[in-house]
Amino acid sequence: MSLPLVTVTEPTFSDFMAARWAPLFRTAYLLSGDQHEAEELLQSALARTCVKWSSIREKGAADAYVRRAMVHQMSSRWRRPRRELATDELPERGHGGGLDVRADHLALWEEVRRLPPRMRATLVLRYFEDLTVEATARELGTSVGSVKSQTHHALKRLRAALPDLELQP
């Protein structure tokens, strides 16, 4: 890669990708619940981000741009009948068994994976990315009320699936 002739303060897209690939992949995995799908999702979102890179004024907010691109792309897939059918097919239990995590974390993750994609995305943005309700609504392109509603129903489902756990809002 040739160096630029003038000093620039803003990171290039390549810099951004090198620095943020791993954390964004982890988010993509939590959003999609699948390694291969996560890779495709992130790659596609990064490609779109690359095309738009010059118009992204706040490069520090590029993570949010990529996340929004991933959520948008997933929402398009959810709307397609093929994906709608697929969301009804619950992931097989034990899929995450290859991950080296504690059994209770794994049990909870398996139930999170079984949530409808939009609910899962809401939980991931709120409790993994630690976004506020308002920021989550912006990234999902929905209202604050919807985010609260999705969170409420997601936690309700997790409580129903794992009655021994005491998830309190």
């Binding site: 709307r79 059918l85 909870l108 392109g141 009320g145 919807s146």
Partner: protein, 347 residues
């Protein structure tokens, strides 16, 4: 386990997942494809899980239903798909084609059209039907009625004692199904569902059971109206905006803005005025895609859908109300009739 532990679980899983190296060649291919697609739009990014359609239109389980009594075969007035019941100056009128029919009985609310006449509610709580455009009001029930909705050709109503009843509108058919709610108010009914505001929240009753339609108490103070459509899809208009629910209330979308609006009977389209209130747009709640409706202009005072799925718009311009009728997709709008009193309304 607390939310902290949910955070820890997500964090532990994300730390444990093996991260593959970036596929740079693949990324270049994607970039070329993205450029070829031109400028992508990222503004609308609302997704939704699959809506779960209910089979048939079974009677609401919680109302103790035993089925919809067959509509009488000898009904003497067939529903005219083009006729639209409206209220002008407090009286029922039928708009047929581009003519405003003769003055009918005094009514408070038009409940809807059925093959057996127009079902209306009067100021004194009489639930009745009007079989002829200028005909008299025939009471359907002896109860005094607070609210009523059509579910196909049956009517679901709440009487003055809070009893929610269901029955066919043909007077010879006796009510057989009823349910007493605890301080509940019937908010909407259609397509085999009922939405009831109860002490524990706004509840959707359908053949699969009872489901909460969650409204954030921090955001919502007032429910202004509830529409129910096929799917079932329920649109709840509040002082904070419109919440549209599907998937038995588990999925939904929010449309900001305190405006009037109406959910299409098919549950796929929500009609509402544009932000300035002087035109109409159709929204797909699942995608937030908005389609402007060309034609009606002026202060939008009413929105509704005909039983056959046409969009109805009332606009007031210089004191005259005009009823517009458009296709289900908002196309082909035409002004049907002008009301110089400016009082014409759809319900």
């Amino acid at each position: 386990m607390s939310l902290t532990e949910l955070r820890e679980s997500l964090s532990a899983v994300s730390d444990a997942v093996p991260v593959p190296p970036p596929d740079v060649a693949g990324l270049h291919r994607e970039v070329r494809r993205a450029r070829a697609r031109g400028t992508a739009t990222w503004a609308a990014s609302l997704g939704a899980a699959a809506a779960v359609a209910l089979g048939g239109s079974a009677l609401v389980a919680s109302l103790g239903g035993s089925g919809n009594p067959a509509a009488p075969a000898d009904s003497h007035v067939a529903r005219d798909q083009d006729a639209v019941p409206v209220v002008v100056d407090g009286h029922l009128r039928i708009v047929d084609g581009d003519a405003l029919g003769p003055v009918g009985p005094a009514v408070a609310t038009v409940v809807g059209s059925t093959p057996h006449g127009v079902v209306v509610l009067t100021d004194d709580g009489t639930l009745g039907r009007v079989a002829e455009p200028s005909g008299a009001l025939e009471p359907i029930v002896s109860d005094r009625v607070r609210t009523a909705y059509l579910d196909g050709d049956a009517v679901v109503y709440e009487n003055e004692r809070g009893l929610i009843r269901w029955r066919g509108i043909e007077p010879s058919v006796q009510p057989t199904d009823s349910a007493q709610t605890e301080q509940g108010r019937l908010m909407a009914s259609a397509s085999g569902i009922a939405v009831i505001a109860e002490a524990k929240g706004l509840m959707l009753h359908d053949s699969a059971g009872v489901h909460e339609l969650y409204l954030d108490p921090d955001e919502v103070n007032v429910i202004r109206g509830v529409d129910a459509g096929a799917g079932p899809v329920v649109a709840v208009r509040t002082d904070a905006g419109v919440e549209v629910f599907w998937d038995h209330g588990a999925s939904g979308a929010g449309l900001p803005g305190d405006r009037i609006g109406a959910l299409a009977p098919d549950g796929h389209t929500y009609a509402r005025p544009t932000e300035d209130g002087r035109a109409v747009e159709l929204l797909d709640p699942r995608t937030m895609n908005a389609t402007p409706v060309a034609g009606p202009s002026g202060q939008v005072s009413g929105l509704g859908w005909s039983p056959d799925g046409d969009l109805l718009v009332v606009v007031v311009h210089e004191g005259t109300a005009t009823l517009w009728r458009c296709g289900p997709n908002g196309a082909g709008c035409a002004g049907e009739v002008d009301d110089p009193t400016g009082t014409l309304r759809l319900r």
